[in-house]
Symmetry: C2
C-alpha cells in the first residue's frame, strides 16, 4: 500500500489536498450532506464513478450521478442551468454537497454549480487528469465559457477538500499526460528545482510507480497551494501562475483551440524564457537561461507545434486577454528559475523579436530532430 | 436642500448606504471603472437613467445602459447570460463596474452579473423601490430564479456602496409603496419601535416630506445593516430577517405569485405574531402581543388578502422552503418586539391552529371594515 500525502492550503477556512492511490474512497469523509451530487463526464464516470458512488451509499447518503458530455463545450451556461435544475428537482438544500469528479472542465463547471446553487453549497474537488491536478483543482477558481471567450463567468469558491487519486492517471492517454506536464513544469520552474528535474527526466508518466507519482503530484500541488495561500483572489503573487500563459491563451485562441491548452502552455513557457532573457539583458542584468527544461519537455513529449503565426497575427488575441489592465500588457518574467515577477514595461518590439526567435527555434528543432508534429 | 444620511455596513470591506434626495448623482464617486454598465429595467431607465448616465459621462467614463424587461421574469438565466455577453462584447475588464438601477429584480440580476463576470467586478446598488431599499439592496445577496423556484441560483457579492435616492419613491404607484412597507415594518418590529410607529402612522408615503422619507428609510437601512454586520452569510442572526417570510413564501407560491411579496410578508408577519403568542404561552411564558402594528398596516394600506387556503394546502409550499434544515421547520418568533429568535420545536398542530386563527381573523377584518380586497 502506497502512502498518502497531504498538502494544506492555508487560506481562511483552509482545506487539504490528499494525494494517494485510492483516495477517491475517502470522499464521504470530506463532504457532508444527506444528498450528494457527483458531477462528472461520461468517460470519467464510466471509469471512476462506481467506487465513489458506492462509498457515499455505504455512508448512508443519497447519491445522484450527473454526467455531462465530454469536452469543453459542457462548460457553458446551458449545461450549468441544467445541472442546477437537477439539484433543485432532487430537493438539494444548503447543507447538501457537490463532488466534481473529472478533469478541468468538470471541476470548473461543477465548482460554479456548487458556488451558485442556493448561493453556495459544499464542494469536493476530485481531479482525474494530471492537468486538473496540477492546475485547476487547487485555488477555488470556477468558471464557464461564453461564446465571446473562455472563463468569462465564474466565482471563487473554496472546496472542502481536493482528492487526487493517482490511480486515475493510469487511465489517461499519453497525450493527456503531456497536457498536465507543462503545468507541472511551470510549478517546478517557479519554485521547485527537483520537480523540474523530475519532469524533464520523465518521472511523471502514467505508468510510473505510484509512490513516484504521488511524490511529484504532491510537489506540484505544494507549489500551487503556497501561491494560493499568499494571494487567494489574484491581487498579487497569484499572477505568477500565469507564467507562459499570456502567449498560451493567444495560441489557443488563434488556432480556434485546435492547439490544446497543455501544448500551448509548453510553447508559452518557451516564449516567456526568451522574453525574460531579452528583457533582463536589455536592462543590463545577467539572467540565468531557464529555457532548457522547457525544450526538453517539448522534445521528449513531442508537443504539437503551433502554426507559424506572425506576431501581428497573434496580437489581436493577446489584447483580449483579461489580464490587460489600463491598456498595458503584463508579463510574468523570471531572471532565473524561482524568481518570477510581473513586468509591464516590455517594449512591443521586444515582444515581437522574442516571438520571431521562438518561431525560428521551433523550426530548427523540428528540422533537426523531427520531434514536433 | 434636504440632508443626506449615511448608514455604514461594517463587514470586511464594508460599504456605505447613502440615503438622500438626488444621491443618484453621486454614483461616479462610488464606482470605479473606465467602463460602466448601468443595468436597469425599461420603466426605471426611462424615469431615472438619464441623470446617472450623464453623471458618469461627465466623469469621463464609457457608459453602457442595458435595460431589461420589467418584471420577475427577467431574473432568469437567459437574461443573465445575455447581459454577461453584452459586457464581454463591450470589452469589460476586471476593473470596470456594474451599477444596478431599479427594484429588487434588477438588483438581484445585476448583482449576480457583477458577482460572476470575470469572477467578480465592482458593483453599485441603487434601489429605486421602497421594497428594494428596505430589503434586497443591503447585504450582498444576489440571485436568479429557476423554473423550479425563486432565488435558487446566486452569490453573496458586496456592493461598493448603496445609493437610495428618495426622489425615485415619488414615481412609485401607491401599491408599490405598500410592498415596501411590510419589510420596513418588519425592521421596526425587530429593532426600532419609532420606526414601527412611523409605519403605522403613515409617515412613509410617496408624497411625504423628503426629510421624513430619508429619516425612516435610513432607520430601516440601519436595522438591516446591523443584522448583516453581525452575520453576513446567514449562519445565525441574519435568519431573524426571515420574520414573517416562511408563510409569506408559501402564500406567494400557493397563489402562483398572484399575491405580491409585500402583501404576503404583511400576512406572514400577522401569522408569525399569532404563532409567537401561542408558542410562548404553551411554554408558560407571558408574551407581549405585537400583532397590532401589523393589523394596522394591513387595514390602512388595504393589503390584498390571500385565498382561504387550508393549512394542509399550504404545507407542500412550506416544505420546499430552503430554510428547512435536517427536515425540521425553523420559525422566527418573538416573545416581544425586538426579541427575535429561531425556534425549531413548533408542533404541527400549533402551526395549523395559528393559521386557522389568522384565517378567521382575516375574515372578520374584511366583514367588519371591508378593508381587504
Amino acid at each position: 500500500m502506497s502512502s498518502v500525502r497531504t498538502v494544506r492550503v492555508t487560506v481562511e477556512n483552509g482545506y487539504d489536498v490528499r494525494i494517494g492511490a485510492g483516495v477517491l474512497r475517502e470522499a464521504p469523509a470530506h463532504l457532508p450532506g444527506r444528498k450528494i451530487a457527483v458531477i462528472s463526464d461520461h468517460a470519467v464516470a464510466t471509469l471512476h464513478a462506481g467506487p465513489v458512488v458506492d462509498a457515499f451509499e455505504a455512508d448512508g447518503r443519497d447519491v445522484y450521478l450527473f454526467p455531462v458530455p465530454v469536452g469543453e463545450r459542457s462548460k457553458d451556461l446551458a449545461t450549468f442551468g441544467d445541472l442546477a435544475r437537477r439539484l433543485a428537482r432532487a430537493g438539494f438544500g444548503r447543507d447538501d454537497g457537490v463532488m466534481a469528479l473529472g478533469g478541468g472542465v468538470v471541476g470548473d463547471l461543477a465548482g460554479f454549480v456548487a458556488a451558485s446553487y442556493l448561493r453556495g453549497v459544499g464542494l469536493l474537488q476530485a481531479p482525474t487528469s494530471l492537468l486538473a491536478m496540477a492546475d485547476a483543482a487547487i485555488g477555488g477558481k470556477t468558471g464557464l465559457n461564453l461564446p465571446e471567450g473562455k472563463n468569462l463567468l465564474g466565482a471563487f469558491w473554496r472546496p472542502r477538500a481536493v482528492l487526487m487519486d493517482v490511480r486515475t492517471l493510469a487511465t489517461l492517454p499519453p497525450a493527456q499526460v503531456t497536457e498536465g506536464l507543462a503545468e507541472v513544469l511551470k510549478h517546478g520552474l517557479l519554485n521547485d528545482p527537483e520537480l523540474t528535474t523530475a519532469v524533464t527526466e520523465g518521472q511523471l508518466a502514467a505508468d510510473a510507480d505510484p509512490d513516484q507519482l504521488i511524490r511529484w503530484v504532491a510537489a506540484s500541488a505544494a507549489v500551487k497551494a503556497d501561491v494560493v495561500a499568499r494571494d487567494e483572489h489574484e491581487g498579487g503573487v497569484r499572477a505568477h501562475l500565469n507564467l507562459g500563459h499570456t502567449v498560451a491563451h493567444a495560441l489557443e485562441a488563434a488556432s480556434a483551440h485546435r492547439l490544446s491548452h497543455g501544448s500551448a502552455v509548453a510553447w508559452g513557457l518557451a516564449y516567456a524564457a526568451i522574453l525574460s532573457r531579452r528583457h533582463a539583458r536589455n536592462e543590463g542584468r545577467d539572467p540565468v537561461d531557464w529555457s532548457e527544461p522547457v525544450w526538453a519537455l517539448l522534445r521528449s513529449r513531442r508537443v504539437p507545434r503551433p502554426d507559424r503565426w506572425a506576431w501581428s497575427e497573434l496580437l489581436p488575441f493577446l489584447e483580449r486577454d483579461k489580464k490587460v489592465r489600463a491598456g498595458r500588457r503584463r508579463w510574468v518574467l523570471m531572471d532565473a528559475p524561482g524568481r518570477p515577477r510581473v513586468v509591464d514595461d516590455v517594449p512591443p518590439d521586444m515582444e515581437r523579436a522574442a516571438w520571431d526567435e521562438l518561431r525560428d527555434r521551433m523550426e530548427r528543432a523540428t528540422d533537426r530532430e523531427g520531434a514536433t508534429a
